[in-house]
Symmetry: C2
Subunit: 214 residues, 2 copies
DNA sequence: CATTGCCGTGTTGTGAACAATACTGTTAAC
DNA sequence: GTTAACAGTATTGTTCACAACACGGCAATG
């Protein structure tokens, strides 16, 4: 499965990049040709991505890119809040001096991005910051779960970055998180992370009312 | 995959039942014969259970039942604490009167089991109570994640039930959870659930020191 | 005109055969 | 006695072909 694992990764990336939009049918033969492998490898990849929640498979009807409703995105973010709260708390306890510097540097870059109104850069830095916290926490199980949840809701996270004024609010919340982590205050870090994601949920809930698509 | 899904379920159950102990090799041909299906179906099942974390697959070397160290069981339980805290809080907000009665009935059965020192029954009821809370919370995402985490640590949970005096302590904690949920007090329910799982973690940590196997 | 039955096409599900790889025990050399 | 090379076996990885199923259009019927 050396090659097949790589096929799974390629397909996952392609879905996350938007090469296959939500609802799109994923036909084994087409994918096999696209990635230059046999149908068996594609099948394995589809089973795996189905388990990850990125792909939906129906018996005898094939696979499609899973469509995540706003309602489900709220649930995903709630689960993230619980798990990333744990992670933030652990990160506060376990961060080395070098890792603290890393977080501060990321925060500085985020501040720059907000000042220059570079929403794309901010979105990437946002992802990087959360990823760095996961690494610092040294908690494999939570890390894996969170990475998966982030992938599942990736589409909506992207929309979020485009909301006017959102970046400034988000920046302040991230600053609170980084400060608590660098101060080594676990409970404060957990609370700050939960606050941050609660505010994400607020935005999602606002959409939920008059949005049934995507 | 109508049949194949059932094969995955059968294999998962067999692993959880202990029919295949941790570390045991899972040979495709043997499994195919055992369940009366082709190798392809078995392969799909193994890929799926690998994604679930119950099975480990190495390239060209086959699949084995994943061995969960005590250290990893601690991590799993920490993640459960975060997610089941969320679930307990939601359950407190969303439980109907009928569901509250259901919880009280389960608690009564657990009390009986402790009085009769029926550890096996208690262990089953324990599982049932947590499962019922997941259902009451009506939170699909967290529910799925928790169910998976419980499966992964199932072996250790079973050992836990055999610790002398553990059942009485556990019963008191479950009573606190049920009382908070039936009272509709979300934060208290979340705190009670976290307390309960923190005490599970304490026992695991105690083992961690002088236990490297299983 | 609406509805039902039927057939053709596209796609998935499954089984069998073959190739590639890793493990085991044996023999030979140093 | 230890190590290295080697063959034999067991198991996985891959490909192919075919069967099973779902969907679409078309025609026949009421």
């Amino acid at each position: 499965m050396a090659i097949a694992a790589s096929v799974t990764d390629q397909l996952r990336d392609d879905i996350l990049e938007g090469a296959f939009p939500p609802g799109e049918r994923l036909i084994e033969l087409q994918l096999a040709e696209r990635y230059g492998v046999g149908r068996a490898a594609i099948r394995a990849a589809l089973v795996e991505l189905d388990a990850e929640g990125l792909v939906r498979r129906e018996a005898n009807r094939g696979a499609t890119v899973r469509r995540i409703s706003v309602t489900e995105a709220v649930e995903i973010t709630q689960a993230r809040a619980a798990l990333e709260g744990l992670i933030a708390g652990l990160a506060a306890e376990r961060a080395t001096d070098g890792e603290r510097d890393e977080l501060c540097a990321l925060l500085a870059e985020m501040t720059d991005a907000v000042e220059h109104e570079d929403k794309l850069a901010y979105s990437k830095l946002n992802r990087a910051l959360h990823g760095t916290l996961c690494r610092i926490a040294r908690h494999r199980v939570a890390d894996d779960l969170v990475a998966n949840l982030r992938n599942r809701a990736a589409h909506h996270q992207f929309r979020l970055a485009l909301v006017p004024g959102r970046a400034a609010e988000s920046l302040a919340q991230h600053r609170a998180i980084v400060e608590a982590v660098t101060a080594g205050d676990g409970p404060a870090a957990e609370a700050a992370m939960r606050d941050h994601l609660a505010s994400v949920i607020d935005v999602l809930r606002h959409w939920e009312a008059f949005d049934t698509r995507a």
